[in-house]
């Protein structure tokens, strides 16, 4: 143990009240940082999850007049080779009218491959009555539409295609995707049925993709465009279609960073001022040490070490305090159904970064008093007792 470190430790120990006060100051700063950071990140995650968690991040459509994409299996194979792709689903969609008890509604018939579509839309989980169409000409109807038409499982509804053909479908179940506009307009069936009814052959109308890193969706989309290299397709991604959400998220991130920066600055000023006072308090000791031959660099190191020790202790206590605060928040601030109001997201690298920044800030704050000690002249102390 070097002498400056020993002296720093002894100074901190001998004025334990002051030391604890600074550590509390730093740890409150760090805990606010950890808590606010986790809260905002959790908020953003849950917001993103509700907005785009159950919808495609990248959608490939056709630019042809008939809206049809050919060779879709080949295209899906190419896209599957991309890294970071979570799931790919194809669908064969067409607007139609349905007729039941002389009531007519305009709907969108969507033909899915059930396994694939489930990965995106979680249809299976949201069927509250009946089951997914297992045979041809069976359909799922959304909650709002079934309520307004008064439908039951097994009822036959008449579909009027754009080609003015009329075909009877049997209802195999009802779904509720928690979005009223979808529940009202989507009629879900399997891919073969849809292709057959609308004479699509082996064509589809869209390829829908979810990716793991949602914020990279635009990059992945442009990679897909270049590797499919076809003028007949149009690739859309959620970021282009949700500019408002994105700017909202950005605003949140910026304000969270602002809060964190100002918390850190106030902590830093606190440490700097307390350490500056402690230089005055210890000027006699520093003077004696200098008279006995301690060099300016070593006497400065005493205060740098004090900053480092205070920073480390404050960061450690602060991280635990912040985690405790987060835990209490997710435990006590809950919705009636027991789920947290905002699910917290604990990003350990973010927490580690907060701790490192606080420690570094403490060392930087200690530079001011350290500079002051190196200027201290021992004769001032010796002469004045």
């Amino acid at each position: 143990m070097s002498l400056p470190f020993k002296i720093a430790l002894r100074f901190l120990k001998s004025n334990i009240g002051q030391t604890i006060l600074i550590i509390i100051g730093i740890s409150i700063g760090v805990s606010v940082q950890v808590f606010i950071g986790s809260l905002i990140q959790g908020l953003q995650k849950s917001l993103l999850d509700t907005t785009i968690g159950s919808s495609p991040h990248i959608t490939i459509l056709s630019t042809n007049d008939n809206k049809l994409i050919g060779d879709w299996k080949e295209k899906v194979n190419i896209i599957e080779d991309f890294s970071d792709i979570k799931t790919i689903s194809v669908s064969s969609d067409s607007p139609s009218f349905i007729n039941f008890n002389n009531k007519t509604e305009s709907v969108l018939i969507r033909g899915f491959l059930p396994d694939k579509a489930n990965n995106i839309y979680k249809i299976e989980n949201n069927i509250y009555e009946g089951k997914f169409p297992s045979e041809e000409y069976q359909v799922l109807v959304g909650k709002e539409l079934s309520d307004s038409l008064g439908l039951f499982i097994g009822d036959k509804i008449e579909i009027i295609t754009p080609q003015r053909e009329m075909i009877d479908f049997t209802i195999s179940g009802f779904y509720d995707l928690k979005i009223a506009s979808i529940n009202r307009s989507w009629i879900i069936t399997n891919l073969e049925t849809s292709q057959k009814v609308f004479d699509f052959g082996d064509f589809v109308t869209s390829i829908e993709i979810q990716v793991n890193e949602v914020f990279d969706a635009d990059l992945i989309a442009s990679n897909i465009i270049s590797s499919l290299n076809s003028s007949e397709i149009d690739v859309q991604n959620w970021k282009d279609q949700n500019q408002q959400l994105l700017s909202g998220l950005n605003g949140q991130s910026v304000s969270s960073i602002m809060i964190q920066v100002f918390v850190m600055i106030s902590v830093l000023l606190g440490i700097a001022s307390v350490l500056a006072i402690s230089v005055v308090q210890r000027s006699k000791q520093i003077g004696i040490l200098k008279a006995m031959g301690i060099k300016d660099k070593s006497s400065s190191m005493i205060f740098i070490y004090q900053g480092l020790l205070l920073g480390l202790a404050g960061a450690l206590v602060g991280v635990f305090l912040g985690l405790g605060l987060s835990f209490m928040f997710s435990k006590f601030a809950v919705n009636p159904d027991g789920t947290p109001v905002v699910p917290l997201y604990l990003d350990y690298s973010f927490i580690a970064l907060s701790a490192i920044i606080a420690t570094a800030a403490s060392v930087i704050a200690a530079l001011i008093p350290a500079r002051k000690t190196s200027k201290l002249n021992p004769i001032e102390v010796i002469r004045n007792g």
Binding site: S2, I288, G293, G385
Partner: protein, 229 residues
């Protein structure tokens, strides 16, 4: 005999706008192993002279040689090293570091020299010094838990830990009772004889001064008397 300290034409002026000259053209030298006192009324400049001898203060003009080396053009680090290794200080107000125990205070000059390490023989030496000054019972007390006389004796032990060739003492018995004064004086004398350490003691106590081998009286910044006995 060797001159361990040599001063040539030394002047000291305080202040920049209002100048106060406290030392005028001092020429002085001290023999190695001698036991000296500097006396004078307060404000005569005796403490200023001692601080300059200890390189804690810089003369305005003139030269100071310690062990034959010119100190007046050394930088701060060189002076710190010189102080650490060749000069022991005993200050008027004890000046122990209150956060450390008596024994640790004694060891501090060595830790400064040796980057914080304390070899076993140095630890033993510190214990011996504590015995010498009669503090073995309170050596683990914090400086604040010791009487004035005990603190002063600890400061004496501290001044000797690095085997300095010079010990500078500023009123070492200044606020001690007469009995303690006697003890401390005897101790310094013993050390002088045992280790051949050069002592320069600033005092206003004529009785103390009369017990030293050489008395230098400073008056109004000049050497008024220089008696060798």
């Amino acid at each position: 005999m060797d001159k361990i300290i040599n001063i040539k034409n030394l002047n000291k002026i305080y202040g920049t706008t209002i100048k106060t000259q406290v030392l005028f053209d001092i020429n002085l030298s001290f023999d190695s192993g001698s036991f000296n006192s500097i006396i004078g009324a307060s404000g005569s400049g005796k403490s200023s002279l001692l601080n300059i001898l200890g390189t804690l203060d810089k003369p305005t003009s003139g030269e100071l040689y310690i062990n034959g080396k010119l100190t007046t053009n050394m930088n701060k680090n060189e002076l710190a090293e010189l102080r650490n290794e060749t000069i022991g200080f005993i200050f008027q107000f004890h000046h122990l570091i209150p956060e450390f125990t008596a024994l640790e205070n004694v060891l501090i000059p060595h830790m400064i020299k040796n980057k914080g390490r304390i070899p076993k023989d140095i630890k033993e030496k510190a214990e011996d010094l504590m015995n010498l000054v009669g503090l073995s019972k309170v050596k683990n007390n914090l400086a604040t838990n010791m009487s004035g006389g005990q603190q002063q004796r600890a400061a004496i032990a501290r001044s000797l830990i690095n085997n300095p060739s010079i010990v500078l003492a500023d009123e070492p018995t200044g606020n001690l009772d007469s009995e303690s004064t006697e003890t401390v004086y005897k101790m310094l004398r013993d050390i002088n004889e045992k280790f051949k350490t050069t002592f320069i003691i600033v005092t206003h106590d004529k009785k103390i001064a009369e017990m030293t081998d050489r008395i230098i009286e400073i008056k109004d910044g000049k050497i008024n008397l220089d008696i060798l006995r």
